[in-house]
Amino acid sequence: MSAPSQTSEIAVPTATAAQFVPALRNAAAAGLVAFGLSFPIISYHAQSNINNELVVTARWPLSFGIAALVFAFVFLRQMARADWRIWFDRVGSIAAGGMGGALVQAAREGEGTARPSAARLAFGRYVGPFMLGLVILFPLIALGLLGPGGALKWINNYGVQIMIYVMLGWGLNIVVGLAGLLDLGYVAFYAVGAYSYALLSTTLGLSFWVCLPLAGILAAMWGVILGFPVLRLRGDYLAIVTLAFGEIIRMVLINWVDLTNGYAGISGIPHVSFFGIPFTDDDDGFAAIFHLPYTPIYRTIFLFYLILALALLTNFVTVRLRRLPIGRAWEALREDEIACRSLGINTTTTKLTAFALGAMFGGFAGSFFAVRQGFVSPESFTFIESATILAIVVLGGMGSQLGVAIAAAAMIGIPELMRELDWMKRIFGEDFDPTQYRMLLFGAAMVIMMIWKPRGLVSTRLPSLFLKEQKAVSGDLVKEGHG
């Protein structure tokens, strides 16, 4: 039996007249579809005038431009040589979802390999500690390079913000990545933690260090309460019910005005102190006691190390638990629930501990959020937050701690960087605001990442159980759980 010839040998296309006509046809079809999609929604702009009447204004050039762009792109892609088409696809997805494409580029190497090369394993071994060192030194580097004034923004907007999501991602990773329970309402526990601290500190005057464990316990309790009814559900249904629970908690926060002050939220939450020493410019403040000139940056740096410590605690607990019977039960549950039950694993307690632990870390992160902002309102706990955290876990590669951290940095850091793109105003005019495209690109990036890299950025996993030596395996061999 002769081996079938490779497709690449058959298709060595050069631009010929025979290719020209189908390419033109395809491109025309794509252009027409693009025009149809953009017809009323882009070509006309509906705006209210002063009398609150709707007025439409035509924007045909934009619509025609999009159609022409799609036409040219598809035509050139069809006419190009086969090995160039991949570049067209890459450029296309980068244009469609900027950071999605960039992430895919970073993740290209080692795709689909069951046994990664030695170099990649060594890279995998050292990249974690190296990044940890970099993160620990980050405030000092920023301070050294930019001075106290310039560093504040970087440590606060990038450092603290990203670390919160790293922690949330690691917390959700216990539920989704290890136990395989798809949770779309994780933000509920974040909210419980934030409101716990806000209410306990403003009404009872408890300090942050007392409230932090309390917030964690309360969130874990809610994890059990909300986890109990959904034990029987699987997959998509579990996702939808957890989403419903997340929304219910948010709506209760909005409507229970006596307790939560509704939409207005709770303000005046006490700020964090350095183990009792406040970060103020009073005589007994942090700067005065340590004989430093007063700047607000000390508090930010302290917050950064606080969230870093909390995140590392989450990571440490997760890594340790994976080696304990409960962690192995989680992973067994993810792989096959029926086999688990027949082997005598109590699936009820296994699922509930996963929910409770994940929720507890969400609660910690929530109370940190409250102490950092000094203000909480239901606005901060919408479904989009849940989706963002889930996206971070999935894009990072479910179950991979390093991948989640990288994905959090990319998903939070890149949209944040888009705020800095003031130079784009010079090209597109003054009313061009890059920040309004953040969520648009975020959504597109989620779709593109699923198509190109469904197993996440880190596509290898280290099994916790092995026969002779521990080998990294492809993420494709790991199940995503039945829910």
Partner: protein, 305 residues
């Protein structure tokens, strides 16, 4: 009693809208087993498309006749929304067929975020008020504590819903397209072996779902007179609740669930409090999924090992 009658009318009107959206969820779930999370935002998009087409007709083309405008808006919105959903399925879901099970759900969540923000970027974040239209109101019972009224709009919504549902029910039940759909629902591989174009059938399912969502979008604009980019999420979840309540995968179930959700929402707001009316819908969703996941008219799912 008067209040009850009035709320019944309002609830059935609202329920018709939910039922139309719910069909899109139930058909897609039936055929590829995926919760099409972006369907609520497709509905919102269709409401925008309908509103803008109407504005073009009245402001730029100076069309005087309202019935003609209504038909053009309805057909135009259905066609364009169907094109959108076709493109979404082609770009975001079809490449993921055969990927791991959560991939389509996450892709759909991404699509949902994309669509609502796309509309926000191209049409602006503010509410879009529809122009004021004449609305004849019939008084059904005068003299009680309330006047029970039935407006032209409500009649229009219910009549159009019933007619279109009948048409699509015929399509799915008695045509070869419907048979192909049901075959794909049962066993996609076997259907493909018997010569059914599975990809095309799935595409058509999305197209039909979007067309019905567009009808709901037109009705939404007519009924509420205002639409904003964030209007997709909550009606979407409520319609999904309706699909689940009626039994996911069942067309009559989706309509029944829609009507029930509409009635429950209206009666809840009327007799208890409006503050928690969305909570009621979400609670029903959770309770249904936990205690009777096969819904009212659905078949119980058999787990194969």
């Amino acid at each position: 009693m008067d209040n009850f009658l009035q709320q019944l009318i309002n609830g059935l009107t609202l329920g018709s809208i939910y039922g139309l959206i719910a069909i899109g969820y139930t058909m897609v779930f039936g055929i590829i087993g995926m919760v099409n999370f972006a369907h609520g935002d497709v509905f919102m998009l269709s409401a925008f498309i309908a509103l803008i087409i109407f504005m073009i007709l009245t402001q730029i083309l100076h069309l005087g006749s309202l019935p003609i405008a209504f038909v053009v808006v309805l057909v135009g919105a259905m066609a364009l929304t169907a094109l959108w959903n076709w493109a979404i399925e082609r770009l975001a879901y079809r490449p993921l067929r055969g990927s791991f099970r959560l991939a389509p759900l996450i892709s759909a969540i991404g699509m949902s975020i994309f669509l609502s923000n796309f509309v926000q970027v191209v049409q602006g974040p503010r509410n879009k008020p529809a122009p004021h239209l004449p609305n004849h109101v019939f008084n059904l019972a005068v003299g009680g504590t309330y006047d029970v009224t039935l407006s032209m709009r409500q009649i229009l919504i219910m009549v159009v819903t019933v007619v279109l549902l009948a048409a699509f029910w015929y399509l799915v039940k008695f045509t070869s397209l419907g048979r192909a759909q049901r075959a794909c629902e049962q066993d996609r591989k076997m259907a493909a072996l018997l010569g059914i174009d599975v990809d095309a059938t799935i595409s058509i399912t999305f197209v039909i779902g979007a067309a019905l969502a567009a009808v709901a979008g037109v009705m939404f604009v007519i009924y509420y007179g205002v639409v904003s980019f964030s209007d997709g999420f909550v009606p979407g979840v409520k319609a999904f609740t309706a699909a689940v309540l009626g039994g996911i995968g069942s067309l009559p179930g989706a309509v029944l669930g829609g009507l029930l959700i509409g009635l429950i929402e209206v009666f809840w707001s009327s007799y208890f409090t409006t503050d928690y009316k969305d909570v009621a819908a979400f609670m029903i969703l959770a309770i249904t999924l936990i205690f009777m996941p096969s819904g009212i008219l659905g078949r119980p799912e058999v787990e194969k090992v």
